[in-house]
């Protein structure tokens, strides 16, 4: 009788284990990486000259200057 109870208890424990479910939600910040700012870069040998990496104002001026480089009607400096 005791053996049967032990077997039943074990079987019940195994059956209940199947009912367990892991959480599938992703906690905020746990997986999704945060991208760095566009003007933050370590010098990898490809950084264009004419601006200071890490300086937002300098980067903005650099991007605006290069964008204007596509303008055929802008006066050439």
């Amino acid at each position: 009788m005791r053996q049967l109870s032990a077997v039943l208890a074990l079987a019940g424990a195994c059956a209940l284990a199947g009912c367990g479910e892991r959480m599938q939600t992703i906690p905020v910040g746990a997986v999704k990486k945060v991208d760095g700012q566009a003007w933050q870069i370590r010098d990898n040998g490809y950084v264009a000259s004419g601006w200071t990496p890490g300086d937002e104002a300098s980067w903005t001026a650099q991007i605006t200057r290069r964008t204007q480089g596509q303008n055929d009607y802008a006066p050439r400096l």
């Binding site: 870069i41 990898n44 605006t64 204007q68 009607y73 802008a74």
Partner: protein, 210 residues
Amino acid sequence: MARMKFICDAERCIECNGCVTACKAEHDIPWGVNRRRVVTLNDGVPGERSISVACMHCSDAPCMAVCPVDCFYRTAEGVVLHDKDICIGCGYCSYACPFGAPQFPTNGAFGLRGKMDKCTFCAGGPEVNGSEAEFEKYGRNRLAEGKLPACAEMCSTKALLGGDGDVIADIFRTRVLNRGKGSEVWGWGTAYGKPTQGGPRAPVVEGKKS
């Protein structure tokens, strides 16, 4: 803060595919994936027009809306990027995108679909800017290097303009007004009707919706 955009001038595009080649070379894009491509309308017919198409970095991007794992994000510059470590390659974004921007590399003999790849506006991804990991997953981060997308900067006829939306809109407006044709199209006034950089104002026809 700049909001990065592309404009392709169909009057100037000569279908040379230089932008496609520049993109593939710059980012070491694998076979079968074209982040940018040139589409020609009325091909072979006199008056055919070509435009270079890639991710347009929509302000209200449908790919972001449908992604079941929320792998997309938008940078402060308005560039729509995604995290390949989260992407499951389901392809919902490719159905949602009106420009066909999301691309899926086929790996192996059975055409197994890999993680989504698309134009990054040469802004890399969520890895450290300019790092080897970023290059391996997303390609070069030219924006952080103080440059513009390779496709736009390589365009020989300057048909493809890329950069701060306000600046390239001014460039395009000046160009169209100087050539005296194009500003009569529907929607011109809404898109380019407010010159801020000088140049003549677009002609306005009284009583006509623009």
